[in-house]
């Protein structure tokens, strides 16, 4: 399964577009792999968002507990200390209503469904690319 989420990724969304929004979008990237962190951060920054990084689910939860706010959370599934499923569950139980999108290497339907059931708005299989980011940010803009 390629993804579960907002709709079809189309060829018209291949080019990187800066989403025209009046409001600055704040994004939290939750990812333990430094290479993926770097790529995802550069991609989201290119789309005009303000990006912060967390190396695992626990760091993400602690950021929210300390009062931080993010419009969008992009989270990996497998991370040390606290994985994406547990982090998503905790964030939702804390009352976090921000958009949470899973980005995972896992592609089995059952694995993605389990991740979705934790409280995601959508889930995509890696790699994150311009098309997927465009769909996510457009969905965020429409909320």
């Amino acid at each position: 399964m390629e993804k579960m989420g907002f709709g079809n990724v189309t060829s018209t969304s291949k080019t990187m577009k800066i989403i025209d929004t009046e409001k600055q979008i704040y994004v939290l990237i939750v990812e333990d792999d430094l290479l993926i962190q770097k790529i995802h951060k550069a991609m989201m920054t290119k789309f005009g968002t303000e990006v912060q990084l967390a190396a695992n689910g626990k760091e993400a939860v602690e950021l929210f507990l300390s009062g931080a706010y993010f419009d969008l959370i992009l989270t990996d599934l497998e991370m040390p200390i606290m994985d994406g499923i547990e982090a998503t569950k905790q964030l939702r139980s804390m009352g976090v209503t921000s958009m949470i999108v899973g980005v995972t290497s896992r592609n089995q339907d059952s694995e993605i469904q389990a991740f979705m059931n934790a409280g995601l708005n959508a889930c995509y299989v890696k790699p994150l690319n311009a098309e997927k980011v465009t769909v996510v940010l457009n969905e965020l803009k429409n909320i």
Binding site: L35, I36, K38, I39, A42, T45, S105, K126, A130
Partner: protein, 127 residues
């Protein structure tokens, strides 16, 4: 050899990497992320990928040389390698990783060793 020739060679070489399936569109997207605010982005991510790859392939090889091979451990390394290779656009590496995982599921050591060598790694000899 002048700069123009070198530039043309570089362009031709890069094109061949796409043509032969070493690289895919994901790499093109990464190149678009390089700009004046991030002038060394491609070099940095490719360097990170090569460092990670070396560690992962060596870890896989060592795991395969254990008296009792823990295929789940090998699979974990392959899974990570597949994630990073697909994120950087290393198309052939990603496909090799997919094949790897099949062998891990079958617990096929010989198949895995062949894939490691095909990917540029080596199997440490146990004396």
């Amino acid at each position: 050899m002048d700069v123009g020739q070198l530039q043309r060679q570089f362009i031709d070489y890069t094109a061949s990497l796409f043509r032969e399936g070493f690289l895919d569109d994901q790499f093109t997207q990464l190149r678009k992320l390089q700009d004046e605010n991030n002038p060394d982005f491609v070099f940095e991510v490719v360097s990170l990928f090569f460092d990670d790859s070396e560690k992962l392939v060596n870890n896989m090889a060592k795991a395969l040389e254990q008296p009792i091979v823990e295929f789940e451990q090998v699979d974990a390394h392959v899974h990570q390698f597949k994630g990073s290779s697909s994120s950087i656009g290393a198309h052939r590496v990603k496909n090799v990783c997919a094949a790897f995982r099949g062998f891990c599921e079958q617990q096929n050591s010989d198949g895995l060793e062949q894939q490691i060598i095909a990917a540029g790694g080596s199997i440490p000899m146990v004396e």
